[in-house]
């Protein structure tokens, strides 16, 4: 085919006019994109700002850059308000949830993608249908059930519903990733006499690393931020996760916004770091899921 990039223009003046117009267009695009970037990060900017202000300065509002920036607010929040404990609890709950999710749904995804067994299609449909059940209708039964099982208020009692809640998306992503692995690999492994478990762990899992990371992130982020079920199931402050600990700060009569924002920063920073360090895989994995 012929190249169609720019139509030949007669005069030089037209050419320069077109060039200026393109330059203006590019500047407008740049400004618009930067503006939305600002909208995106605006709450964070003030969160960071308030976290470095002291009690007096934060109520005066105003300036984004603190006049007397201080680490004391962050240190205070971390030490005196039990944020270290909340942080550990969050870390444990998130870790358990992610590990269980990856183990259970990688295996299920492998079964759905590779193995043939009666009832496969029906099971697959059941899992996807879970996506449409509203959270609020199952929250109450979950609490009542866990109360009866004796795990209400424990971290284990949070992990189970979190893992199950992520089932539809995790299975979808894992099945998609395993379907992309060429069947010849499996067949040759079978000819070599490898067991099904062996094929799964040493052929399929390594090839599905981007999908595993995506599922991990898509599980870790909402788990880290989860609030509703945590709030209705946990009673003992020593079991609180970060979002719940944060809420206790705001529940005081007059919330100290510098401490509240320092706490918010402590909640937010770990997920941001996690996301930024893995975002390359994440976006690709997500894109793959949308296309597939």
């Amino acid at each position: 085919m012929t190249s169609i990039s720019v139509k030949a223009r007669p005069g030089a003046s037209d050419d320069t006019r077109a060039r200026t117009r393109r330059r203006i267009a590019r500047a407008v695009v740049g400004v618009l994109l930067a503006l939305y970037g600002l909208v995106s990060v605006y709450p964070f900017l003030w969160m960071v700002s308030a976290a470095f202000k002291d009690q007096i300065e934060v109520v005066r509002g105003g300036h984004l850059i603190p006049r007397n920036p201080t680490f004391e607010t962050l240190v205070d929040t971390w030490n005196e308000l039990h944020f270290f404990d909340f942080f550990l609890n969050s870390l444990l709950v998130t870790l358990y949830t992610v590990v269980l999710t990856l183990v259970i749904y990688a295996a299920a995804g492998y079964a759905f993608a590779v193995l043939r067994f009666p009832g496969r299609g029906l099971l697959q449909k059941l899992f996807v249908s879970l996506l449409f059940v509203p959270g609020i209708t199952v929250m109450l039964p979950i609490v009542l059930l866990e109360d009866r099982m004796g795990i209400l208020g424990t971290h284990f009692g949070l992990v189970l519903p979190f893992v199950n809640g992520g089932a539809p998306l995790s299975i979808l992503l894992m099945t998609g990733a395993f379907l992309a692995v060429p069947l010849e690999l499996r067949d040759s492994a079978r000819v070599d006499g490898a067991s099904e478990l062996r094929i799964f762990t040493s052929v399929y899992l390594p090839l599905a690393r981007p999908a595993l990371i995506t599922v991990g992130l898509l599980t870790a982020i909402p788990t880290w931020n989860e609030f509703l079920l945590t709030r209705v199931s946990l009673n003992d402050p020593s079991t609180y996760t970060l979002p719940l600990g944060l809420q206790t700060l705001s529940a005081e009569n007059v919330p100290h916004y510098n401490n509240l924002m320092a706490g918010a920063l402590i909640v937010v920073i770990p997920v941001i770091i996690l996301f930024l360090s893995l975002q390359r895989y994440f976006v690709n994995g997500l894109v793959g899921a949308v296309k597939g």
Binding site: P43, A108, A111, P118, P141, I142, L160, P243, V283
Partner: protein
């Protein structure tokens, strides 16, 4: 490879609980030979691999859904040993009969309707142009993409408190308006304290949280568009606006449908932002249906409202299902 001996042991299946009613008998896998291994072995491994997921699903999924559904036909306060069966009474009470609950539900439904109209529309209106613009940029695209995605990553209590902080009477939004000379627009009672600005503000925060995923979906769609289609449009003399409006927009319609569907569902059932930021206030002006269901379920200590809460949840579910079907139908008829 030759054809595999596939039809060897048809009777040996059915190792698991249910019989061998394989739906649509596994399409594909046509030519690939399957060495050795009998099918019963493969089926057994299959069940072992999905086993943990199925067990968890049965307990945490099926059981709780069934339990919640049954509860929606009963009256219970969560403490007495027995339920009182009332049939469809809960649904009738919520929808029209009860003088206490029906007006509250109706009011919350109206608020929810506003969110359901405004949030998906605004999310599409922001994220589609954003994706189109971002798609033109070579340098810094991945940096910007990450920046735009931050609201999703942090979406939760922490960032809602940050919003609450900047929406205060002497918060950063009013400060920003004052400093760019739009001081007349600032809200002396705070954006969430004024009944007439509370709802629009909450919708704006909701949209802010929904744009990241929508933008990413659109960006994926845009990058999947065949270049020759765009070149053909350019050859036909279509300008930038025209190309976007008449070529690209129709091509990404499936993505618009997905974005709308996710957003509608979230607007109908989600309420965490409202719970944390306004708790329905001021004066129930931002009370939404999800929040009302949450209150009925968890904040009425000894009152027997658990059945009502469950029924309201199922009404929300039914509404979401109807919307999903309408959405799918609309999508199908246009493509």
């Amino acid at each position: 490879m030759t054809t595999a001996p596939r039809k060897t042991v048809p009777g040996a299946v059915g190792t698991g609980g249910d019989s061998h009613r394989t739906p649509a008998a596994a399409p594909g896998t046509g030519g690939t030979g399957k060495p050795r291994r009998p099918r019963s072995y493969e089926a057994l491994t299959g069940y072992l691999f999905v086993g943990p997921a199925v067990i968890l699903f049965c307990v945490m999924g099926l059981y709780t859904v069934g339990y919640g559904f049954a509860l929606s036909f009963a009256t219970w306060n969560g403490f007495t040993p027995n339920w009182t069966w009332v049939g469809l009474d809960n649904y009738a009470d919520l929808l029209w009969r009860s003088p206490v609950y029906a007006p509250r539900v109706r009011h919350a439904a109206l608020n929810t309707l506003w969110v359901m109209i405004a949030s998906p529309a605004l999310t599409v209106a922001v994220s589609f142009p954003l994706a189109v613009l971002l798609n033109r940029v070579r340098r810094l695209q991945s940096v910007l993409r990450s920046v735009y995605f931050l609201p999703y990553v942090t979406s939760g209590v922490a960032v809602f408190f940050a919003w609450q902080y900047i929406l205060q009477p002497d918060g950063a939004i009013n400060y920003l308006l004052d400093s760019v000379g739009l001081g007349s627009l600032s809200q002396p009672q705070g954006w969430l304290g004024n009944p007439s600005t509370a709802m629009p503000t909450m919708i704006a925060v909701t949209v802010w949280g929904h744009v990241p995923v929508a933008m990413l979906l659109y960006l994926t769609g845009l990058q999947g568009i065949d270049r020759s289609v765009l070149e053909a449009a350019e050859l036909d003399g279509a300008g930038w606006w025209r190309t976007n409006a008449s070529v690209i927009w129709p091509l990404v319609r499936p993505i618009t449908a997905i974005v709308m569907l996710l957003n509608l569902r979230e607007s109908l059932q989600g309420f965490q932002t409202f719970l944390v930021m306004t708790n329905g206030g001021p004066g129930d002006h931002t009370n939404v249906l999800g929040l009302e269901a949450y209150r009925l379920a968890f904040l009425k200590n000894l009152a027997p409202t658990l059945g009502l809460a469950s029924a309201l949840g199922w009404i929300l579910f039914a509404a979401a299902l109807v919307l999903a079907l309408i959405n799918l139908r609309a999508l199908r008829s246009k493509t």
